[in-house]
Protein backbone atom coordinates (compact mmCIF):
# COMPACT_ATOMS: atom_id res chain seq x y z
CA UNK A 1 0.00 0.00 0.00
CA UNK A 2 1.56 3.27 -1.14
CA UNK A 3 0.92 6.33 1.06
CA UNK A 4 -1.32 9.01 -0.44
CA UNK A 5 1.39 11.64 0.18
CA UNK A 6 3.56 9.69 -2.25
CA UNK A 7 0.80 9.15 -4.82
CA UNK A 8 -0.18 12.84 -4.80
CA UNK A 9 3.23 14.06 -6.02
CA UNK A 10 4.39 14.69 -9.59
CA UNK A 11 6.92 12.35 -11.24
CA UNK A 12 8.83 12.53 -14.55
CA UNK A 13 7.97 9.66 -16.89
CA UNK A 14 9.23 10.58 -20.39
CA UNK A 15 11.04 13.09 -22.57
CA UNK A 16 8.42 15.25 -24.26
CA UNK A 17 10.27 15.40 -27.58
CA UNK A 18 10.44 11.61 -27.92
CA UNK A 19 6.71 11.16 -27.29
CA UNK A 20 5.91 14.02 -29.71
CA UNK A 21 8.02 12.21 -32.32
CA UNK A 22 5.59 9.29 -32.05
CA UNK A 23 7.47 7.01 -29.67
CA UNK A 24 5.32 5.14 -27.19
CA UNK A 25 6.88 4.51 -23.79
CA UNK A 26 5.70 1.52 -21.77
CA UNK A 27 7.22 1.90 -18.36
CA UNK A 28 6.53 1.71 -14.66
CA UNK A 29 5.76 4.21 -11.90
CA UNK A 30 5.75 3.31 -8.19
CA UNK A 31 5.43 -0.34 -9.23
CA UNK A 32 2.45 0.32 -11.55
CA UNK A 33 2.63 -0.34 -15.30
CA UNK A 34 1.99 2.87 -17.23
CA UNK A 35 2.29 3.98 -20.83
CA UNK A 36 3.09 7.40 -22.23
CA UNK A 37 1.93 8.06 -25.78
CA UNK A 38 0.46 10.59 -28.15
CA UNK A 39 -3.36 10.31 -28.33
CA UNK A 40 -5.08 12.58 -30.87
CA UNK A 41 -2.09 14.91 -30.77
CA UNK A 42 -2.07 15.15 -26.98
CA UNK A 43 0.44 13.47 -24.66
CA UNK A 44 -1.41 11.11 -22.34
CA UNK A 45 -0.29 8.88 -19.49
CA UNK A 46 -2.33 5.71 -19.08
CA UNK A 47 -2.27 4.04 -15.68
CA UNK A 48 -3.52 0.55 -14.80
CA UNK A 49 -7.19 1.63 -14.60
CA UNK A 50 -7.38 5.29 -15.58
CA UNK A 51 -5.48 8.04 -17.27
CA UNK A 52 -3.28 10.18 -15.03
CA UNK A 53 -3.00 13.98 -15.17
CA UNK A 54 -0.12 15.35 -17.22
CA UNK A 55 2.11 18.41 -16.96
CA UNK A 56 4.64 19.19 -19.69
CA UNK A 57 7.53 21.11 -18.18
CA UNK A 58 11.32 21.32 -18.54
CA UNK A 59 11.15 19.20 -21.72
CA UNK A 60 9.71 16.25 -19.82
CA UNK A 61 6.34 14.62 -19.24
CA UNK A 62 5.28 14.65 -15.59
CA UNK A 63 2.39 12.73 -14.11
CA UNK A 64 0.66 12.21 -10.78
CA UNK A 65 -0.76 8.78 -10.01
CA UNK A 66 -3.00 10.15 -7.21
CA UNK A 67 -4.75 13.49 -6.73
CA UNK A 68 -2.22 16.29 -7.21
CA UNK A 69 -1.58 17.99 -3.87
CA UNK A 70 -0.11 21.05 -5.60
CA UNK A 71 1.29 22.29 -8.90
CA UNK A 72 4.62 20.98 -10.19
CA UNK A 73 7.49 23.29 -9.20
CA UNK A 74 8.84 25.91 -11.59
CA UNK A 75 12.35 27.04 -12.51
CA UNK A 76 11.95 30.71 -13.52
CA UNK A 77 15.59 30.91 -14.66
CA UNK A 78 14.87 28.34 -17.39
CA UNK A 79 12.71 30.95 -19.16
CA UNK A 80 15.50 33.55 -19.37
CA UNK A 81 16.24 34.39 -23.00
CA UNK A 82 19.49 33.01 -24.36
CA UNK A 83 19.57 29.79 -22.37
CA UNK A 84 20.24 26.44 -24.06
CA UNK A 85 17.84 23.75 -22.84
CA UNK A 86 19.43 20.30 -22.96
CA UNK A 87 17.51 17.04 -22.57
CA UNK A 88 20.24 14.61 -21.58
CA UNK A 89 18.19 11.40 -21.95
CA UNK A 90 17.32 8.59 -19.60
CA UNK A 91 19.70 6.35 -17.64
CA UNK A 92 18.39 3.43 -15.59
CA UNK A 93 19.95 2.84 -12.19
CA UNK A 94 19.33 -0.08 -9.85
CA UNK A 95 18.97 2.03 -6.71
CA UNK A 96 16.35 3.75 -4.58
CA UNK A 97 15.05 6.88 -6.35
CA UNK A 98 15.74 8.81 -3.15
CA UNK A 99 19.39 7.72 -3.17
CA UNK A 100 19.73 9.07 -6.72
CA UNK A 101 18.52 12.47 -5.50
CA UNK A 102 20.69 12.37 -2.40
CA UNK A 103 23.80 11.63 -4.47
CA UNK A 104 23.03 14.67 -6.63
CA UNK A 105 23.09 16.81 -3.47
CA UNK A 106 26.46 15.53 -2.31
CA UNK A 107 29.62 17.52 -2.99
CA UNK A 108 32.17 15.55 -0.98
CA UNK A 109 32.41 12.74 -3.58
CA UNK A 110 33.46 15.05 -6.45
CA UNK A 111 37.26 14.57 -6.19
CA UNK A 112 36.93 10.78 -5.94
CA UNK A 113 34.15 9.95 -8.42
CA UNK A 114 34.42 12.85 -10.88
CA UNK A 115 38.20 13.11 -10.62
CA UNK A 116 39.82 15.99 -12.53
CA UNK A 117 36.40 17.22 -13.68
CA UNK A 118 34.21 18.28 -10.76
CA UNK A 119 36.95 17.83 -8.17
CA UNK A 120 40.54 16.80 -7.61
CA UNK A 121 42.77 15.82 -4.73
CA UNK A 122 44.00 17.46 -2.57
CA UNK A 123 41.09 19.95 -2.84
CA UNK A 124 38.69 17.69 -0.94
CA UNK A 125 37.41 19.99 1.77
CA UNK A 126 33.72 20.89 1.76
CA UNK A 127 33.52 24.44 3.08
CA UNK A 128 30.73 25.48 5.41
CA UNK A 129 27.45 26.23 3.68
CA UNK A 130 23.87 26.99 4.69
CA UNK A 131 20.88 24.65 4.54
CA UNK A 132 17.25 25.35 5.23
CA UNK A 133 13.85 23.81 4.73
CA UNK A 134 11.94 26.81 3.39
CA UNK A 135 8.50 26.85 4.99
CA UNK A 136 6.80 29.04 2.36
CA UNK A 137 7.69 26.86 -0.62
CA UNK A 138 8.22 23.64 1.37
CA UNK A 139 11.54 23.02 -0.39
CA UNK A 140 15.02 22.05 0.78
CA UNK A 141 17.68 24.65 -0.14
CA UNK A 142 21.46 24.65 0.28
CA UNK A 143 23.19 27.95 -0.40
CA UNK A 144 26.69 29.44 -0.28
CA UNK A 145 28.20 26.15 -1.35
CA UNK A 146 31.70 26.52 -2.80
CA UNK A 147 34.06 23.92 -4.18
CA UNK A 148 37.28 23.84 -6.19
CA UNK A 149 36.63 22.32 -9.63
CA UNK A 150 39.18 21.50 -12.36
CA UNK A 151 36.52 21.57 -15.12
CA UNK A 152 33.19 22.80 -13.79
CA UNK A 153 31.40 22.63 -17.16
CA UNK A 154 32.04 21.69 -20.78
CA UNK A 155 32.58 25.39 -21.45
CA UNK A 156 34.98 25.90 -18.51
CA UNK A 157 38.63 26.54 -19.23
CA UNK A 158 40.87 25.57 -16.36
CA UNK A 159 40.03 25.10 -12.70
CA UNK A 160 38.48 27.45 -10.21
CA UNK A 161 36.17 27.94 -7.27
CA UNK A 162 32.62 27.13 -8.27
CA UNK A 163 29.66 28.41 -6.32
CA UNK A 164 26.54 26.28 -6.01
CA UNK A 165 22.97 26.39 -4.74
CA UNK A 166 20.98 23.19 -4.41
CA UNK A 167 17.25 22.87 -4.29
CA UNK A 168 14.88 19.92 -3.71
CA UNK A 169 11.42 21.03 -4.88
CA UNK A 170 9.87 17.55 -5.27
CA UNK A 171 10.59 14.20 -3.62
CA UNK A 172 12.38 12.75 -6.65
CA UNK A 173 13.69 15.86 -8.36
CA UNK A 174 16.50 18.26 -7.63
CA UNK A 175 17.84 21.36 -9.32
CA UNK A 176 21.21 22.97 -8.80
CA UNK A 177 22.46 26.42 -9.71
CA UNK A 178 26.18 26.79 -10.31
CA UNK A 179 28.61 29.45 -11.46
CA UNK A 180 28.20 29.97 -15.21
CA UNK A 181 31.65 30.02 -16.88
CA UNK A 182 30.32 31.85 -19.96
CA UNK A 183 28.41 34.54 -18.03
CA UNK A 184 29.77 35.39 -14.61
CA UNK A 185 26.90 36.75 -12.53
CA UNK A 186 24.40 34.27 -13.95
CA UNK A 187 23.73 30.72 -12.82
CA UNK A 188 23.81 27.60 -14.95
CA UNK A 189 20.87 25.37 -14.03
CA UNK A 190 21.15 21.58 -13.93
CA UNK A 191 18.41 19.22 -12.82
CA UNK A 192 17.87 15.56 -12.28
CA UNK A 193 14.38 14.24 -12.60
CA UNK A 194 14.05 10.76 -11.12
CA UNK A 195 11.29 8.37 -12.13
CA UNK A 196 10.69 5.81 -9.37
CA UNK A 197 9.97 2.50 -11.12
CA UNK A 198 10.05 0.68 -7.81
CA UNK A 199 11.59 1.30 -4.40
CA UNK A 200 14.92 -0.07 -5.63
CA UNK A 201 14.91 0.83 -9.33
CA UNK A 202 14.75 4.21 -11.02
CA UNK A 203 15.25 5.96 -14.30
CA UNK A 204 16.99 9.30 -14.18
CA UNK A 205 16.55 12.17 -16.62
CA UNK A 206 19.29 14.79 -16.28
CA UNK A 207 18.38 18.18 -17.77
CA UNK A 208 20.23 21.47 -18.20
CA UNK A 209 19.46 25.13 -18.88
CA UNK A 210 22.79 26.75 -19.69
CA UNK A 211 24.32 29.90 -21.06
CA UNK A 212 26.70 28.46 -23.65
CA UNK A 213 26.61 29.60 -27.26
CA UNK A 214 29.67 27.65 -28.31
CA UNK A 215 29.61 24.00 -27.28
CA UNK A 216 27.80 21.65 -29.70
CA UNK A 217 24.69 19.98 -28.28
CA UNK A 218 26.21 16.48 -28.55
CA UNK A 219 29.16 17.58 -26.39
CA UNK A 220 26.89 19.08 -23.73
CA UNK A 221 24.89 15.83 -23.60
CA UNK A 222 28.05 13.70 -23.51
CA UNK A 223 29.54 15.77 -20.68
CA UNK A 224 26.49 15.39 -18.47
CA UNK A 225 26.06 11.67 -19.28
CA UNK A 226 29.72 11.14 -18.40
CA UNK A 227 29.17 12.80 -15.01
CA UNK A 228 25.98 10.90 -14.26
CA UNK A 229 27.27 7.49 -15.32
CA UNK A 230 30.34 8.00 -13.13
CA UNK A 231 27.83 8.10 -10.27
CA UNK A 232 25.82 5.11 -11.47
CA UNK A 233 28.10 2.29 -10.31
CA UNK A 234 28.46 3.98 -6.91
CA UNK A 235 24.69 4.25 -6.53
CA UNK A 236 24.17 0.61 -7.48
CA UNK A 237 26.51 -0.50 -4.72
CA UNK A 238 25.14 1.61 -1.85
CA UNK A 239 23.84 -0.32 1.17
CA UNK A 240 21.28 -0.48 2.61
CA UNK A 241 19.44 -0.29 -0.69
CA UNK A 242 16.63 1.83 0.76
CA UNK A 243 17.47 5.32 2.02
CA UNK A 244 17.69 5.15 5.83
CA UNK A 245 15.51 7.76 7.55
CA UNK A 246 16.26 6.44 11.02
CA UNK A 247 18.73 8.96 12.48
CA UNK A 248 20.40 6.18 14.46
CA UNK A 249 21.49 4.46 11.29
CA UNK A 250 24.28 6.74 10.11
CA UNK A 251 26.58 9.38 11.53
CA UNK A 252 26.48 12.49 9.35
CA UNK A 253 29.32 14.97 9.11
CA UNK A 254 29.26 18.68 8.39
CA UNK A 255 29.50 17.96 4.65
CA UNK A 256 26.20 16.01 4.77
CA UNK A 257 23.98 18.93 5.84
CA UNK A 258 21.92 18.94 2.64
CA UNK A 259 21.43 15.21 2.74
CA UNK A 260 20.26 15.35 6.34
CA UNK A 261 17.80 18.13 5.55
CA UNK A 262 16.50 16.11 2.59
CA UNK A 263 16.00 13.04 4.77
CA UNK A 264 14.18 15.06 7.46
CA UNK A 265 12.01 16.71 4.84
CA UNK A 266 11.05 13.35 3.35
CA UNK A 267 10.24 11.96 6.78
CA UNK A 268 8.21 14.99 7.84
CA UNK A 269 6.13 14.82 4.68
CA UNK A 270 5.69 11.04 4.75
CA UNK A 271 7.48 10.63 1.42
CA UNK A 272 8.94 7.29 2.36
CA UNK A 273 8.73 5.36 -0.93
CA UNK A 274 12.30 4.08 -1.42
CA UNK A 275 13.19 4.70 2.24
CA UNK A 276 13.44 2.57 5.35
CA UNK A 277 12.14 4.03 8.60
CA UNK A 278 13.73 1.62 11.05
CA UNK A 279 17.25 0.22 10.75
CA UNK A 280 16.97 -3.25 9.22
Amino acid sequence: MIASQVLNEWYPVAMEQQIRAGQRRDTQLLGMPISVALQDGVIAVQGPVRTFPVILRFGHVWTCPGTPAHDLFTVPEADQPGRRLVDVGVVRVKCSPLRAVENFLDIAHFPFVHTDVLGAEPHTEVNRYEVQIREDSDEVWATKVTFYQPQAAKSAEGGGQTEYMYRVPAPTASVLYKTCPARPGEWDVIGIFVQPLSEELCEVWPWMALFDDVTPQADLIAFQQMIFVQDRSILENQLPRLLPLDPGMEIPTQADLTSIAYRRWLKKRGLTYGAQMVAA
Binding site: M15, V90, V91, R92, A218, S233
Partner: protein, 216 residues
Amino acid sequence: MIVLYDYVLSASAYKVRLMAALLGVKLQLEAVDFHPGRAHKSAAFAALNPAGTLPVLVDGDLILTESTAMLVYLARTSCAKWLGGDTAKAQAQVQQWLAFSGRLAASLGMARLHDMLLYPGDINALRHQGHAALRELEAALTERRFAEQDWLAGDTPTIADIACFPNVVLSQDGGVSLDDYPAVRLWQRRIRSLDRFIEMPGIHRLHELRAAPVQV
Protein backbone atom coordinates in the same frame (compact mmCIF):
# COMPACT_ATOMS: atom_id res chain seq x y z
CA MET B 1 44.70 14.75 -37.52
CA ILE B 2 42.83 11.49 -36.99
CA VAL B 3 39.13 12.11 -36.33
CA LEU B 4 37.09 9.80 -34.11
CA TYR B 5 33.29 10.05 -34.18
CA ASP B 6 32.76 9.28 -30.58
CA TYR B 7 30.22 8.56 -27.85
CA VAL B 8 31.37 8.96 -24.27
CA LEU B 9 29.54 5.86 -22.95
CA SER B 10 30.44 3.55 -25.83
CA ALA B 11 32.78 0.70 -24.86
CA SER B 12 33.95 0.40 -28.48
CA ALA B 13 34.73 4.11 -28.78
CA TYR B 14 36.60 3.98 -25.47
CA LYS B 15 38.70 1.08 -26.81
CA VAL B 16 40.00 3.42 -29.50
CA ARG B 17 40.42 6.43 -27.18
CA LEU B 18 42.36 4.23 -24.75
CA MET B 19 44.60 2.76 -27.43
CA ALA B 20 45.38 6.22 -28.79
CA ALA B 21 46.15 7.52 -25.29
CA LEU B 22 48.47 4.60 -24.52
CA LEU B 23 50.27 5.19 -27.82
CA GLY B 24 50.43 8.94 -27.26
CA VAL B 25 48.39 9.57 -30.42
CA LYS B 26 46.11 12.62 -30.36
CA LEU B 27 42.59 12.14 -31.72
CA GLN B 28 40.15 14.83 -32.72
CA LEU B 29 36.96 13.71 -30.98
CA GLU B 30 33.62 14.51 -32.60
CA ALA B 31 30.80 13.76 -30.17
CA VAL B 32 27.77 12.08 -31.73
CA ASP B 33 24.41 12.25 -29.93
CA PHE B 34 23.97 8.47 -29.71
CA HIS B 35 21.57 8.71 -26.75
CA PRO B 36 18.97 10.15 -26.59
CA GLY B 37 19.28 11.68 -30.10
CA ARG B 38 20.17 8.49 -32.06
CA ALA B 39 22.18 10.72 -34.39
CA HIS B 40 24.18 7.64 -35.49
CA LYS B 41 21.01 6.44 -37.25
CA SER B 42 20.48 9.75 -39.09
CA ALA B 43 20.73 10.11 -42.87
CA ALA B 44 23.68 12.47 -42.47
CA PHE B 45 25.61 9.89 -40.46
CA ALA B 46 24.69 7.07 -42.88
CA ALA B 47 26.71 8.89 -45.54
CA LEU B 48 29.76 8.32 -43.35
CA ASN B 49 28.87 4.87 -42.03
CA PRO B 50 25.97 3.05 -43.71
CA ALA B 51 25.92 0.55 -40.83
CA GLY B 52 24.93 3.36 -38.45
CA THR B 53 27.36 2.27 -35.73
CA LEU B 54 29.87 4.09 -33.57
CA PRO B 55 32.74 4.75 -33.42
CA VAL B 56 33.99 5.80 -36.84
CA LEU B 57 37.62 6.69 -37.45
CA VAL B 58 38.60 8.97 -40.33
CA ASP B 59 42.19 9.63 -41.35
CA GLY B 60 42.38 11.39 -44.71
CA ASP B 61 40.56 9.15 -47.18
CA LEU B 62 40.58 6.17 -44.83
CA ILE B 63 37.28 5.47 -43.08
CA LEU B 64 37.12 2.66 -40.51
CA THR B 65 33.90 1.51 -38.83
CA GLU B 66 35.16 -1.53 -36.88
CA SER B 67 36.89 -0.70 -33.61
CA THR B 68 39.28 -3.67 -33.81
CA ALA B 69 40.47 -2.45 -37.23
CA MET B 70 41.03 0.98 -35.65
CA LEU B 71 43.28 -0.62 -33.02
CA VAL B 72 45.32 -2.29 -35.77
CA TYR B 73 45.62 1.00 -37.65
CA LEU B 74 46.67 3.05 -34.62
CA ALA B 75 49.21 0.46 -33.48
CA ARG B 76 50.63 -0.13 -36.98
CA THR B 77 51.11 3.58 -37.61
CA SER B 78 52.74 4.40 -34.28
CA CYS B 79 54.10 1.44 -32.30
CA ALA B 80 53.85 -1.97 -33.96
CA LYS B 81 54.88 -3.75 -30.77
CA TRP B 82 51.22 -3.50 -29.76
CA LEU B 83 50.31 -5.81 -32.67
CA GLY B 84 51.97 -8.77 -30.93
CA GLY B 85 54.71 -11.11 -32.10
CA ASP B 86 55.68 -11.75 -35.74
CA THR B 87 55.12 -15.50 -35.77
CA ALA B 88 52.10 -17.08 -37.42
CA LYS B 89 50.95 -18.36 -34.04
CA ALA B 90 51.29 -14.99 -32.29
CA GLN B 91 49.49 -13.11 -35.06
CA ALA B 92 46.69 -15.66 -35.15
CA GLN B 93 46.25 -15.48 -31.38
CA VAL B 94 45.83 -11.72 -31.53
CA GLN B 95 43.20 -12.16 -34.26
CA GLN B 96 41.48 -14.79 -32.12
CA TRP B 97 41.10 -12.31 -29.25
CA LEU B 98 40.00 -9.46 -31.52
CA ALA B 99 37.17 -11.68 -32.74
CA PHE B 100 36.45 -12.79 -29.17
CA SER B 101 36.01 -9.13 -28.19
CA GLY B 102 33.00 -9.08 -30.53
CA ARG B 103 31.42 -11.82 -28.44
CA LEU B 104 31.99 -9.71 -25.32
CA ALA B 105 30.25 -6.77 -26.99
CA ALA B 106 27.33 -8.93 -28.10
CA SER B 107 26.80 -10.37 -24.59
CA LEU B 108 28.18 -8.18 -21.77
CA GLY B 109 27.96 -5.03 -23.90
CA MET B 110 24.31 -5.61 -24.79
CA ALA B 111 23.43 -6.50 -21.18
CA ARG B 112 24.90 -3.13 -20.20
CA LEU B 113 22.93 -1.24 -22.85
CA HIS B 114 19.80 -3.07 -21.69
CA ASP B 115 20.28 -2.24 -18.02
CA MET B 116 21.54 1.30 -18.48
CA LEU B 117 20.02 2.78 -21.65
CA LEU B 118 16.89 0.55 -21.89
CA TYR B 119 17.91 -1.35 -25.03
CA PRO B 120 15.67 -4.34 -25.81
CA GLY B 121 17.06 -7.83 -25.25
CA ASP B 122 16.71 -11.06 -23.28
CA ILE B 123 18.71 -9.94 -20.26
CA ASN B 124 19.07 -13.40 -18.74
CA ALA B 125 20.36 -14.87 -22.00
CA LEU B 126 22.79 -11.94 -22.47
CA ARG B 127 24.18 -12.34 -18.96
CA HIS B 128 24.46 -16.10 -19.43
CA GLN B 129 26.44 -15.61 -22.66
CA GLY B 130 28.54 -13.00 -20.87
CA HIS B 131 29.43 -15.44 -18.11
CA ALA B 132 30.31 -18.10 -20.71
CA ALA B 133 32.72 -15.65 -22.36
CA LEU B 134 34.18 -14.60 -19.00
CA ARG B 135 34.80 -18.25 -18.08
CA GLU B 136 36.78 -18.69 -21.30
CA LEU B 137 38.76 -15.55 -20.59
CA GLU B 138 39.40 -16.62 -17.00
CA ALA B 139 40.67 -20.03 -18.13
CA ALA B 140 42.96 -18.49 -20.76
CA LEU B 141 44.39 -15.89 -18.35
CA THR B 142 44.95 -18.56 -15.71
CA GLU B 143 46.93 -20.63 -18.26
CA ARG B 144 48.90 -17.49 -19.09
CA ARG B 145 49.74 -16.99 -15.41
CA PHE B 146 50.93 -20.60 -15.15
CA ALA B 147 53.27 -19.76 -18.05
CA GLU B 148 54.33 -16.65 -16.09
CA GLN B 149 52.74 -14.34 -18.63
CA ASP B 150 50.60 -11.30 -17.79
CA TRP B 151 48.92 -10.54 -21.09
CA LEU B 152 46.56 -12.30 -23.50
CA ALA B 153 49.05 -12.65 -26.35
CA GLY B 154 52.80 -12.22 -26.06
CA ASP B 155 54.87 -10.91 -23.18
CA THR B 156 53.76 -7.28 -23.51
CA PRO B 157 50.27 -5.79 -23.73
CA THR B 158 48.78 -5.88 -27.23
CA ILE B 159 45.68 -4.71 -29.06
CA ALA B 160 44.15 -8.04 -27.97
CA ASP B 161 44.14 -6.86 -24.35
CA ILE B 162 42.75 -3.44 -25.24
CA ALA B 163 40.01 -4.93 -27.44
CA CYS B 164 38.71 -7.19 -24.65
CA PHE B 165 39.22 -4.85 -21.70
CA PRO B 166 36.29 -2.36 -21.84
CA ASN B 167 33.30 -4.70 -21.98
CA VAL B 168 34.85 -6.93 -19.33
CA VAL B 169 35.33 -4.11 -16.82
CA LEU B 170 31.92 -2.61 -17.64
CA SER B 171 30.18 -5.98 -17.12
CA GLN B 172 28.87 -4.80 -13.75
CA ASP B 173 26.87 -2.09 -15.53
CA GLY B 174 24.89 -4.97 -17.04
CA GLY B 175 24.49 -6.88 -13.79
CA VAL B 176 27.37 -9.32 -14.33
CA SER B 177 29.84 -9.48 -11.45
CA LEU B 178 33.54 -10.25 -11.84
CA ASP B 179 33.67 -11.79 -8.35
CA ASP B 180 34.14 -15.31 -9.74
CA TYR B 181 36.98 -14.36 -12.09
CA PRO B 182 40.16 -13.55 -10.12
CA ALA B 183 42.55 -13.88 -13.09
CA VAL B 184 40.36 -11.47 -15.06
CA ARG B 185 40.37 -9.01 -12.16
CA LEU B 186 44.15 -9.10 -11.89
CA TRP B 187 44.53 -8.65 -15.67
CA GLN B 188 42.21 -5.64 -15.77
CA ARG B 189 44.18 -4.03 -12.93
CA ARG B 190 47.36 -4.49 -14.98
CA ILE B 191 45.76 -2.62 -17.86
CA ARG B 192 44.54 0.14 -15.56
CA SER B 193 48.07 0.57 -14.22
CA LEU B 194 49.63 1.17 -17.66
CA ASP B 195 51.30 4.53 -18.25
CA ARG B 196 48.98 7.07 -19.90
CA PHE B 197 45.88 4.97 -19.07
CA ILE B 198 42.65 6.97 -19.40
CA GLU B 199 39.25 6.43 -17.79
CA MET B 200 35.67 6.30 -18.98
CA PRO B 201 32.50 6.41 -16.87
CA GLY B 202 32.39 3.04 -15.09
CA ILE B 203 36.14 2.39 -15.53
CA HIS B 204 38.16 4.21 -12.93
CA ARG B 205 41.83 4.85 -12.53
CA LEU B 206 43.65 2.99 -9.78
CA HIS B 207 43.55 5.66 -7.09
CA GLU B 208 45.03 3.26 -4.57
CA LEU B 209 48.17 2.61 -6.59
CA ARG B 210 49.06 6.26 -6.94
CA ALA B 211 51.19 8.09 -4.44
CA ALA B 212 49.19 9.97 -1.87
CA PRO B 213 48.80 13.56 -3.02
CA VAL B 214 50.95 16.11 -1.28
CA GLN B 215 48.93 18.55 0.77
CA VAL B 216 49.35 22.05 -0.67
